[in-house]
């Protein structure tokens, strides 16, 4: 009763702590959206597919672009324990042409329907197995004027767009998903030096029933290693570093939130020392007074999260499309929980201060 009434009747004071927490939540959520935008934009092509993992050449260090294996290795991977489906995967990072001019592209060639096929179709259809000259492309290309039926071309090789897939960018470049022969034709068009390698692909995608036995799968082809799809995403250059840098900033900011709440309530308790002494003399326990302060911190934190999240969402609409941001509910929930915990932990520091208040000081008026 005390805690709630104080918030109601001393609104201005609590508005300041809610505002401070809102700003922190806003900052953290925007940072989180940038972190997620970078991470999801970089790794979509290996997350939003049926692949459980990929087999790379040993020297590739998990990089699809650097890896070189032979199409024929797919058969050996298919016979590894637990593997249910395989496909050779060719990857080409290049520039291409769309209806409105130049576009960035990450062309993925694979056997459609087998391991590595995108799972996030949102419009049209995926190319059929063995169908050449058509592609499903990432929804980001809509901003470049691409629609179903558009032609996109790399060098002198064209493909007709038959569908759109979401969340499938690779290193922030929109992907085009096509057959291995069409991919290879595009590769040969822009990388003439590779024309002499008609069976080379970048990796072998595989799916497994349960958790993949990566050691056994890697051992199925000489001089290769197998990584799970998640590991493949993290192995993309810069992804892990970006994530850890931004996460460090996010968690440092949340620690600051705890400190801000701790200072605010420390001041509030200091200011109410006389009142708390009187209330203790009247028979209020330290626990009861402490619970009130913690309830106030929790309420302030929840309000901060709600306001901060709303402002961050509005701000997100103002961020230009070129800046990769992604507002995810999971990130919001994580940050909300961390903020409320930080607020409560901050308020816990006041408990010792409350415990030290001597009710005897209420008598005599000499504080």
């Amino acid at each position: 009763m005390l805690a709630i009434r104080e918030i109601q009747r001393a609104r201005g004071r609590f508005a300041s702590i809610v505002a401070a927490l809102s700003l922190i939540v806003f900052l953290v959520l925007v940072l989180g959206a940038l972190a997620d935008g970078l991470f999801f934009g970089a790794t979509g092509a290996v997350r939003s597919t049926t692949a459980s993992g990929y087999v790379f050449s040993q020297d590739a260090e998990g990089s699809l672009v650097r890896s070189r294996v032979d199409e024929a290795d797919a058969a050996a991977v298919a016979s590894a324990p637990g593997v249910t489906s395989v496909s050779p995967v060719g990857v080409l990072l290049t520039g291409g042409t769309g209806p409105d001019g130049a576009i960035d592209l990450a062309v993925f060639g694979l056997e459609m329907g087998s391991a590595g096929t995108p799972t996030t179709l949102v419009e049209g259809r995926l190319p059929d197995a063995g169908e050449d000259g058509v592609a499903a492309v990432d929804t980001r290309l809509r901003d470049s004027g691409v629609t179903v039926g558009s032609q996109i071309s790399v060098g002198d090789v064209s493909a007709e767009v038959v569908g759109f897939v979401a969340d499938s960018a690779y290193q922030l470049q929109p992907t085009a998903w096509t057959s291995v022969p069409t991919w290879r034709a595009m590769r040969d068009a822009v990388r003439p030096e590779l024309r002499g390698q008609p069976t080379a692909v970048n990796a072998i995608a595989f799916t497994t029933g349960g958790a993949p036995d990566l050691m056994a799968i890697g051992a199925s082809v000489p001089e290769t290693t197998a990584l799970s799809a998640e590991q493949t995403g993290l192995a993309i250059p810069g992804v892990e570093q970006q994530s850890s840098t931004l996460n460090a900033i996010i968690y440092t900011t949340l620690a600051v939130a705890a400190l801000v709440v701790a200072l605010f309530f420390a001041l509030l308790v200091l200011e109410k020392r006389e009142l708390f002494a009187a209330l203790k003399a009247l028979g209020s326990s330290t626990g009861r007074l402490g619970r009130g302060v913690i309830a106030q911190a929790a309420i302030a934190s929840v309000l901060g999260v709600v306001i901060g999240a709303a402002v961050a969402r509005l701000f997100g609409m103002l961020i230009p499309a070129e800046v990769p941001t992604l507002f995810r509910t999971e990130t919001l929930i994580t940050i909300a929980i961390f903020t409320v915990v930080a607020g409560v932990v901050g308020a816990l520091f006041s408990l010792r201060r409350i415990a030290r208040i001597d009710p005897a000081t209420a008598i005599g008026g000499a504080l």
Partner: protein, 271 residues
């Protein structure tokens, strides 16, 4: 902390010796007076409070023995530094005495755990502080209801009825929804009286209730205090250094330099 030998009301020797140092009044010593009040609600026996140790030790209260009957409204009169604040704090369970014991309705207060003392204060003691010390963000009525939330014995509805009745009696019915900052000093002190009576305590302890008030307002507040305490059959102890306020009390315990000296009739102190 309680010493068995000093818990027994002291014999004449030490107290008489101690009182030799202060001017003799017409009344008895507090210890001798206590012997007549066998069924007292409050019994203070040989209470001393010493701060510090060795030759830096300061004795705030020395071997205080007194008894107050149920339904009495008494004053604890002394100049500042006389130990009256320390003594009332010990009686109210806010301070632990160095030696001696305090009994309220036969229950030993000395030596209770912190949690038991907190409950004792909530249920058995009503405090009125010098500066009212109301919760600034609660209305007059909510200030009363807050202390009732500290005890389990009373239902919410009963508490509301009781708060309304007290506010009515204290002439604050129209001010029930006002915050303390909207009340005058006298009104605040009246709310504090209502708060002290809210949980139907055995003891009402009042600390210099007129310190922040002018004389006529102070008189009104103390008169009201007396009326409420008497009407409810409560036992009240008022700490004061103001001789003008003792006329509203039944008996006056004088304290000087930490020692209870005499018990007087208020009329004996009028000038």
């Amino acid at each position: 902390m309680s010493d068995a030998s000093s818990a027994i009301p002291a014999g004449p020797d030490p107290v008489v010796l101690a009182t030799d140092a202060v001017p003799n009044g017409p009344g008895e010593t507090a210890a001798a007076d206590a012997a007549h009040h066998l069924s007292a609600l409050l019994r203070v026996s040989g209470v001393s409070k010493v701060y510090g140790e060795g030759h830096t030790a300061v004795t705030a209260v020395s071997d205080a023995t007194m008894a107050v009957d149920e339904g009495e409204f008494v004053a604890l009169l002394g100049p500042s530094g006389s130990g009256k604040t320390t003594l009332i704090s010990i009686i109210g369970g806010l301070l632990a005495p160095s030696t001696g014991s305090v009994e309220v309705r036969g229950t030993e207060v000395t030596g209770m755990t912190t949690a038991d003392l907190t409950r004792f204060r909530a249920e058995k003691v009503g405090f009125v502080f010098q500066a009212a010390n109301l919760v600034p963000f609660l209305t007059a009525r909510e200030n009363l209801l807050y202390v009732s939330s500290l005890v389990k014995s009373i239902s919410k509805k009963q508490a509301q009825q009781r708060a309304d009745q007290l506010l009515e009696e204290l002439g604050l019915a129209q001010r029930a929804k006002n915050l303390p900052e909207q009340l005058s000093g006298g009104e605040r002190q009246r709310v504090a009286i209502g708060r002290a009576l809210m949980n139907d305590p055995d003891l009402v302890l009042v600390d210099e209730p007129t310190a922040a008030l002018d004389t006529s307002m102070g008189r009104q507040v103390v008169q009201l205090l007396r009326r409420e305490i008497k009407a409810r059959g409560k036992t009240g102890i008022m700490v004061t250094h103001d001789l003008r306020m003792v006329e509203y009390t039944d008996r006056v315990f004088e304290i000087l330099d930490g020692t209870l000296t005499h018990v007087e009739q208020p009329s004996a102190l009028q000038h």
